[in-house]
Amino acid sequence: MKYAFFPGCVLHAAAKEALSSTLAVAEKLGMELVEIPGWSCCGASHVQDVDPEAALVANARNLALAENMGLPVVTACSTCALMLRQARATLLAGAMGRANARLAEIGLRFTGASEVVHFLWLLADASEQWTRKVERPLDHLRVAPFYGCHTVRPPEIMGYESHLNPQSLERIIRACGATPVAIPERLRCCGFHAVFPAEHTAMRMTASAVTSAARAGADCLLTPCPLCHMQLDMYQPDALSAACGETPVPVLHLVQLVGQALGLTAKTMGLGRHIVDARPVLKAAAGSCG
């Protein structure tokens, strides 16, 4: 299957390891991801606060570029997925005319032809197939799934699975041979989008997820959202410092867990780029991590 790939800003910046892992996992599974030429920032759930029309028209342009490729859109960032799907719903609900009046000036047109999906959903849907390709079953790895708000909410826009009790991450964890570990923060916020205006709140949210994972005996946290990953990993030392020295917990991108099971190398997956090193727990779980 071929997709128009919307990486989002963070996969080309602080989460380059998620980009290389996504592309390598896709290749392993026979998916072709073609980056949308000229894609722009989705607005990151911030631009609408200062210029809602700019956020809408930028995503109308992103979607129109994908439609020109004749392909459905896939993204590996939950906030990008929400922004693109929200914009698509708004456009189809009546804003298409005014957006297309603008896009016509640059030779583009949004029609709604390209659906937008999260890479998580593709992995979950195909888990029964790719579990047979697992080269390194992660039998001893205990993984605490952390969905991230925008992966499941609001359900009218995201809607892949129940927002009250999603199971896609658990399904993927089991397909990798690992064991899911439930924590109370499984569906809660990491704090990322308010890390500046509500810094203390964001740090307490991060500390709470990490602390729960440690206390539940999880070897690592797992998230399908690179922004949650940034918050839970990059800000973890600050968050734990504020929480008086709890145990650090490595945080894996979803694509790294799957990549590890499928036999990708640590270099390909950028495992050396984490603030809290994930390599020791992966090594303990499955022997060598490449």
Partner: protein, 323 residues
């Protein structure tokens, strides 16, 4: 299945405990029907509030397995499909003071609601003689917000409120402010926005719980965004919240992509970026999250512009509000 099992959080004013109840399963029962069955047949001491049984009074909101819902408007069969046939946990709304069992206090929430300055101060062209009419389209702009039934579901799992209610308000309060701020008849729309600026308008964490849990499909998160926009348009551009959002807009128009290196100084200022955030930056360099040369290039210059940046700038410029 023959039996439904409920584990209900009890509170008698002093002690808290979780009590198990089993009732005969019948297809098509609402959560409220189950609670009434328990109270009438098994345990008259169980306290909960309910009235209309039609999802319009807002009295019967509770949490099932940690998620707020209207008991009268929720079919048990749907919950069993989501969570399987095990016991369902019923608890009082979150982020609320519990009075007894499933009953929560509203006095303090109503007092906080006053902070939104609810009430319409009409434009001078309106009068008792002329009336205070508005065009259907203007009414539709705030019709959704007027559907609020004050059930408290939006606040129950609000992640920001769970962390602290000292610098934030229940999402429905922002919705109430927005319905007056967005009313075409109002003489003082910014009165409500400025009141919300004082009480955490920029501290929403975008968790989308309020949007998800409202049984009337109101979107408090969007009301917060709309009032932020009104605030910025009115010149309230200082503070990390507006500066952070503006940084994203600036990058969108400049190159099409976020410049992560400039984000912190743009949001908090150069001094903060160079001092408070120094350990964070060094950590990023040490782990290769960010290269030193790359950081210098991004700070001194910018990302290369996306393909057809002129086209992007053209459509964005056309959408920019005059300033």
């Amino acid at each position: 299945m023959d039996t439904l099992t409920f584990l209900i959080d009890r509170f008698d004013g002093t002690d808290s405990w979780r009590q198990r109840y089993e009732i005969p399963y019948k297809p098509g029962m609402t959560v409220l029907a189950c609670l009434i069955h328990i109270k009438e047949r098994l345990d008259p001491t169980l306290n909960f509030t309910a009235s209309c049984r039609s999802a319009i009074c807002g009295a019967c909101a509770v949490r099932v397995n940690g998620h707020a819902l209207l008991a009268c408007d929720t079919m048990v069969d749907n919950l069993l499909r989501i969570w399987g046939e095990g016991a369902l946990g019923v608890s009082p709304l979150g982020n609320a003071r519990v009075v007894s069992d499933l009953v929560v206090a509203w006095e303090e929430k109503v007092e906080r609601l006053r902070l939104a300055r609810p009430g319409l101060d009409a434009k001078p062209e309106f009068s008792a003689q002329k009336g205070c009419r508005q065009a259907p389209a203007d009414m539709q702009a705030i019709a959704r917000q007027w559907d609020c039934i004050l059930c408290g579901s939006c606040a129950s799992e609000c992640n920001k409120l769970t962390d602290s209610e000292k610098d934030f308000l229940e999402p429905f309060i922002f919705t109430h402010a927005a319905r007056y701020a967005g009313d075409s008849r109002s003489a003082v729309p910014m009165r409500h926005v400025e009141a919300m600026l004082e009480h955490g308008l920029w501290k929403c964490v975008h968790c989308m719980e309020c949007v998800t849990k409202c049984p009337k499909h109101i979107r408090p998160g969007e009301d917060i965004a709309a009032m932020r926009h009104m605030a910025v348009e009115a010149g309230h551009t200082d503070g990390p919240g507006p500066r952070h959002a503006e940084a994203f807009r600036t990058d969108l128009g400049a190159t099409g992509r976020l410049n992560e290196v400039k984000l912190v100084p743009r949001t908090e200022g150069l001094v903060s970026a160079a001092t408070k955030h120094l350990p964070f930056t060094l950590r990023m360099f040490a782990k290769g999250k960010l290269g030193v040369v790359e950081a210098a290039r991004l700070f001194m210059a910018d990302n290369p512009p996306v393909e057809n940046i002129d086209g992007l700038r053209k459509v964005l410029a056309a959408e920019r509000s005059p300033s």
